[in-house]
């Protein structure tokens, strides 16, 4: 989504990169389709079949069918996690549990084997928390300050440098794995949460910078110019003028980074496969390397445990989550 070296942005407004030449073109973080119902967009649809009730019924039927399709895996995961193994064998995946049992959840949290260890997901859940929180905090703060510089304090070559930074959003991370493994080894932080935090900060900052740059570019120049005439310096302008209006973009950025880092598997499996592995890696080990009787109910409970934090964020702040997705989707 590069427009030119001069103006590079993922433009989430209507989901398209469309920030042409001028700096003031809002490459804003706002997603029209996802505004609250009641805004213009909610009534803007063009009715395909205005009065045909049969046609409308078909539209609703199709939409409902799709909703069932998307909800089905969640339903199957939930019901399976509350079944006993006999119950699973007796019924099929759509049947409700004959007796709702929490045993699989207890086992998934505290006893299930992920490789050699049999302490469930709990330790790895905390690993993920210990990895995600600092990585999100550091990369967001760096992104805010960087975004402030490349939008408000542009200097000769700063646009080129920003473009250079953005390339980091597009590379397949496979191309940095081998050197990174060497460097983490040299620094003595291979297979540690600290190492993973470093990796996520390094490769997350390009995205956070992009978020904040696209947000600050919509702030009127006059605001900053007036403050400079009043003698306000670099940090004063940032702390007193920009930070107070940066709430929404912080939320978008934090949610985006949280989801990305919590859900990451590649860095986790390569750089921390032992004690320090994050929950996604532990889940994969639980599901794919366990021996003996396959306990699908435990697998499903563990999968839900791994998904809960991001699902919770989505439920609470879905609007911001979607903004982040459209703005930073390139990371995939």
């Amino acid at each position: 989504m590069f427009n030119s070296a001069k103006n590079t942005a993922v433009q989430p407004d209507s989901g398209v990169a469309r920030c042409s030449g001028s700096r003031r073109t809002p490459c804003t973080v706002s997603t029209p389709a996802l505004r609250a119902p009641g805004s213009r967009t909610a009534q803007a649809g063009f009715v395909l079949l205005p009065n045909l009730t049969v046609g409308r019924a078909l539209v609703y039927a199709a939409l409902l069918l799709m909703a069932i399709y998307y909800l089905l895996p969640l339903y199957v995961m939930l019901t399976t996690s509350f079944k006993s193994l006999d119950d699973i064998r007796a019924g099929n995946m759509l049947s409700l549990p004959q007796a709702w049992q929490g045993g699989a959840w207890v086992k998934a949290w505290a006893e299930a084997c992920t490789g050699v260890e049999c302490n469930g997901m709990q330790g790895f859940f905390w690993n993920s928390i210990k990895m995600t929180l600092p990585a999100v905090a550091i990369s967001t703060i760096l992104g805010a300050v960087n975004g402030y510089v490349v939008s408000m304090w542009r200097f000769r070559g700063s646009d080129a440098l920003f473009t250079m930074l953005l390339v980091g959003c597009f590379i397949p991370f496979q191309v940095v794995l081998l050197p990174m493994a060497q460097v983490l080894g040299m620094l003595g932080i291979a297979n540690t949460t600290t190492g993973l935090v470093l990796v996520h900060v390094v490769y997350g900052t390009a995205f956070t910078t992009l978020f904040f740059r696209n947000f600050y570019i919509t702030v009127p120049d006059e605001l900053v110019k007036a403050a400079r005439i009043d003698g306000a310096g670099f940090w004063t302008i940032f702390l007193r003028i920009l930070l107070p209006i940066s709430g929404p973009i912080f939320v978008v950025c934090i949610i985006w980074q949280f989801t990305q880092i919590w859900n990451d598997f590649l860095f986790g499996v390569v750089f921390a496969s032992g004690e320090a592995q994050p929950i996604t890696v532990a889940l994969n080990n639980l599901v794919n390397t366990s021996t003996g009787v396959k306990e699908y109910n435990v697998d499903m409970a563990a999968a839900i445990i791994a998904a809960l934090p991001t699902l919770f964020v989505y439920m609470v702040a879905g609007r911001y989550f979607v903004r982040g997705l459209t703005a930073g989707a390139v990371k995939g």
Partner: protein, 300 residues
């Protein structure tokens, strides 16, 4: 804020170098961890490195070995199959849902929430869920058998000829709602007056969609292609969790190939060469798409 002249000069000086100073750690990190590491991986791909990295030049040895490796071609072919089907179905499902949702639907917000929640999940979770649902004995097959279709079999997950298609199923489930969101945003961004004019001219609404609205989604279309192909080329976790690349190597993809050669088989050179091939693929796919996207965005 009154300042003496000398203080003023000092702060003006500070304002000149502070921005550069603030940006420099990130730039340094980018130079080392992105550009430096790509060069490093590139260098490794021209050496004979196996278990340990070695840095003596060995020419195109690793690439030659890679291209003679049948498993690499399986992975590349699978990426082709997965990538094209994944993109095709995400586009079709996403566009269809966007158009349907654009019909003044009640509870649109709730439906959107449902369509999009898979994007909040990790691919590992998605893979785990679908691995269970597509389980040949106890998943979908059993449901159909219980419903009376006694001969219904669904063994794609353990069938080497079909395993890659299970990745498509799970991938489309995870990403199509997101494509819907992008298309819907595009539809809502179109100027009403164009549609009004077409209506005055007597165009029916299906025609308006086919001839006016969907064609004007071209820039969104390129964005979506860009995002989906990026997801497809990098896909790793979904395949790992769903099939592990199996049965055998039947659902192997380049990302898994790279991971296994570099980190579990002690073939650093092969891993580096395959990583470089992935980078080239991304560049080869994304650069033309970005170019077309920029052009179509300017024209609209």
């Amino acid at each position: 804020m009154s300042a003496s002249p000398s203080q003023g000069r000092l702060s003006a000086l500070a304002d000149r170098w502070l921005p550069k100073l603030v940006l420099s750690p990130t730039l340094a990190a980018s130079l080392i961890f992105v550009y430096g590491f790509i060069a490093w991986t590139g260098w490794l791909s021209f050496t004979e490195s196996r278990l340990m990295p070695r840095y003596d030049w060995a020419g195109l040895l690793q690439y030659q070995a890679l291209f003679e490796n049948e498993r690499w071609w399986t992975a590349a072919a699978n990426l082709g199959i997965f990538g094209s089907l994944f993109i095709l179905f995400c586009l079709l499902v996403g566009l269809l849902m966007a158009v349907l949702l654009d019909q003044k639907i009640r509870a649109e917000g709730a439906l959107r929430t449902i369509y999009l929640y898979p994007m909040a999940l990790s691919f590992v979770v998605t893979g785990t869920a679908w691995k269970w649902m597509l389980n040949p004995d106890m998943g979908l097959q059993k449901v159909m058998n219980d419903l009376g279709f006694a001969n219904f079999t669904f063994d794609w997950l353990v069938n080497p000829d079909m395993s890659i298609y299970t990745v498509v199923i799970a991938g489309v489930w995870q990403s199509s709602g997101f494509v819907m969101a992008l298309f819907l945003a595009g539809l809502r961004g179109i100027d009403d007056s164009i549609i009004k004019a077409a209506q005055v001219d007597g165009a029916s609404l299906p025609t308006i969609y086919r001839r006016i609205l969907i064609p004007s989604l071209r820039p969104v279309f390129f964005s979506v292609l860009l995002i989906l192909s990026h997801i497809a080329i990098k896909s790793f976790d979904l395949v790992m969790a769903l099939t592990g690349g199996g049965p055998g190597t039947s659902s192997d993809v380049p990302a898994i190939f790279m991971y296994q050669f570099a980190f579990t088989r002690g073939q650093l050179g092969q891993g580096a060469a395959s990583a470089m091939m992935m980078l080239f693929t991304i560049v080869a796919v994304l650069v033309p798409l970005m170019y077309m996207e920029t052009r179509s965005a300017k024209r609209v």
